[in-house]
């Protein structure tokens, strides 16, 4: 992301600890002279950060890694899917795993307590460099996301993975079905299977069903090549089970 020279970078602070947010505010104030900036808002966790991004134009997010509900890395993965994502500067006090993963994937981070010089350098760099890619973040993450993000009209909508009934691959997208409605996400079914494999079961080349959403199986000779269809809980939908995945039927008995 490159900014027009005249624009002042708009910054969002995301950290679950009030003293840590206060400290960042103090430091950013110190940076102002050499790096004019505006603090847009503060967020106490990843979810709040994404809400601010839906509301405001933000250029740089200072993102703490360990936060409740949606941590920094998951928030960053959702942010990276935006059409015009802000630059992300991760902050952490101590996180052996994340630091190692960041080094490997060339992702920048700041160690708390943060020195003003380091912050200033990171701000300059964030302004000049292109944002971290989704691939690098996926590689650095060590646990599955708790949500899938749907990007609609420049806004991030979060779908909790626990609420997903099934995932079905369409041409370029994957349809995500929850009890209320369907969403389209730009992901690959194989990638989703790798990430959430334990909670889902593959019933067909193009379909993963949440284990918790399986109400039962029905004989269905017309549509299904294996002669079976899986009944989805809470809906009247039946999805065909392929011959190859026929063993799934037995697994659930």
């Amino acid at each position: 992301m490159t900014l027009a020279r005249s624009e002042v970078p708009r910054i969002l602070i995301a950290d679950d600890e009030a003293p840590a947010r206060a400290r960042l505010r103090d430091l950013l104030d110190e940076c102002r002279e050499r790096f004019p900036l505006a603090i847009v808002d503060e967020a106490r966790n990843g979810r709040e950060a994404l809400e601010v991004l839906n509301r405001e134009k933000v250029d740089i997010v200072l993102l703490d890694i360990r936060m409740p509900e949606i941590d920094g890395i998951e928030a960053a993965r959702h942010i990276a899917g935006m059409a015009q994502p802000p630059a992300i500067i991760f902050t952490t006090a101590f996180d052996t795993y994340a630091i190692k993963a960041f080094e490997v994937n060339a992702i920048d981070y700041l160690l708390k307590p943060i020195r003003v010089e380091r912050l200033l350098a990171a701000l300059h760099k964030a302004r000049a460099a292109s944002p971290v890619t989704r691939e690098a973040l996926d590689a650095a993450a060590n646990q599955p996301r708790r949500h899938l993000s749907v990007h609609e009209r420049g806004k991030i909508h979060l779908v909790p993975v626990a609420e997903i009934l099934y995932l079905r691959a369409e041409l370029k997208y994957v349809t995500v079905r929850t009890i209320e409605r369907e969403y389209l996400v730009e992901e690959s079914l194989t990638g989703l299977e790798e990430e959430f494999g334990e909670a889902f079961v593959r019933v067909h080349r193009n379909c993963l069903v949440a284990r918790a959403a399986v109400a039962g199986f029905e004989r269905n000779a017309e549509e299904s090549e294996s002669g079976w269809a899986v009944v989805i809980k809470g809906t009247h939908e039946k999805l065909p089970v392929s011959r190859r995945q026929h063993h799934v039927v037995k697994q659930f008995r």
């Binding site: 679950d16 600890e17 009030a18 003293p19 840590a20 206060a22 400290r23 103090d26 106490r44 966790n45 979810r47 360990r66 409740p68 509900e69 006090a93 101590f94 996180d95 160690l111 708390k112 307590p113 943060i114």
Partner: protein, 341 residues
């Protein structure tokens, strides 16, 4: 290695086992009976007679052994006061005397075992006593490196670097706006680290452990604000009861790390200490934000504490951790001790 205190004693240099300890009692019973069985085998003319031979020896040996353990448990303070060398002589002399009394008492009823000439019996008693003491001496020496190792592990498990750096960050943020609070926080940290860095081999009063946990929680409250709620249930706590040092603080730290920090609204940590007859009971409850699964990171600290409990109390301490109703509960039961045993 000489200056490392053995498990069941806290005063340096004493190597006589603590006969009040259940583990020591069980080990003595097994060892003495194995030795009696060996003696029976050696004495028996054929294998069939060995059983009868053992029954005879056991009829004499068992009362001696049980009375010995009870008396030694009661007299451990005097024995420790004598010093190791003198206490061994006194112990052996007592065993021989006891053997004589038991032989007189049983003489008529059990000809088989007690029928041995007294000199025979006395030498058997001296040998068995010597072997038992030698076994405990060796065992405590073998465990000494394990204790040193446990100390190092304890040192590593005590404080998460996560806590250290986050706290420093929190204190820095206070320096400009609230210098007084920053001062107090640094004082708490200094106290905490003083205890962490000190020699922690000897048992410490639970009251001191509670105070340490309070200071730790005061620092955490700085960062977490009203997300961290603590409920102390220590009205029935015997403050003088002795526990392995630095047992409570790592448990509380665990509760904050896994139970409070991952939840946006925070939660309550409940700490309960009470006495139940001969036992001291410590219960720690924290919420489980991850939806009821036991957090994997908990195991390290729990395993470490379990190990140290075992080193200090052998089979007499138990530690149980379980997930129930969306919370995580750790229960520790250990012998109620007031002065070094």
């Amino acid at each position: 290695m000489g200056n490392v205190a053995s498990i069941n004693q806290t005063a340096a240099g004493i190597r006589l086992p603590n006969f009040c300890n259940l583990g020591i009692m069980l080990r003595s019973l097994v060892l003495v009976n194995v030795l009696l069985a060996a003696a029976a085998l050696a004495r028996a003319p054929d294998l069939g007679a060995a059983g009868l031979e053992f029954a005879g020896l056991a009829a004499f040996g068992e009362p001696v052994l049980i009375v010995s353990l009870l008396v030694l448990c009661g007299a451990r303070r005097w024995l420790h006061a004598m010093g190791y060398g003198v206490s061994i002589v006194a112990l052996v002399a007592f065993e021989v005397l006891l053997a004589w009394i038991v032989r007189r008492a049983l003489g008529a009823a059990f000809v088989q075992g007690a029928g041995l000439p007294f000199l025979h019996l006395a030498m058997l008693v001296v040998l068995v006593t010597a072997i038992t003491l030698a076994y405990f001496d060796l065992r405590s020496r073998a465990l000494a490196p394990a204790i040193a190792e446990a100390r190092i592990q304890a040192l590593q498990a005590r404080i998460r670097p996560h806590f250290l750096y986050n706290s420093i960050n929190a204190v820095i943020s206070l320096i400009r706006s609230e210098p007084r609070r920053a001062e107090r926080a640094l004082e708490d940290m200094a106290d905490l680290f003083r205890v962490l860095m000190s020699d922690n081999r000897t048992l410490a009063p639970i009251g001191q452990e509670v105070e340490l946990a309070r200071q730790y929680l005061a620092i955490e409250a700085l960062r977490l604000g009203d997300r961290l709620r603590v409920s102390w249930r220590i009205d029935g706590m015997p403050a003088e009861a002795l526990v392995p040092p630095l047992m409570l603080q790592p448990l509380v730290e665990n509760a904050v790390y896994h139970g409070i920090e991952p939840s946006p609204g925070g939660g309550e940590v409940v700490i309960e200490v009470r006495r139940e007859g001969p036992q001291l009971v410590l219960v720690l409850v924290n919420p489980l934000p991850g939806g009821g699964r036991s957090p994997a990171g908990n195991r390290m600290a729990i395993a470490n504490i379990r190990e140290r409990l075992q080193l200090h109390f052998d089979a007499e301490a138990t530690m149980k951790s379980e997930a129930a109703d969306g919370s995580w509960r750790v229960t520790i039961r250990m012998p109620y001790l007031t002065a070094p045993a």
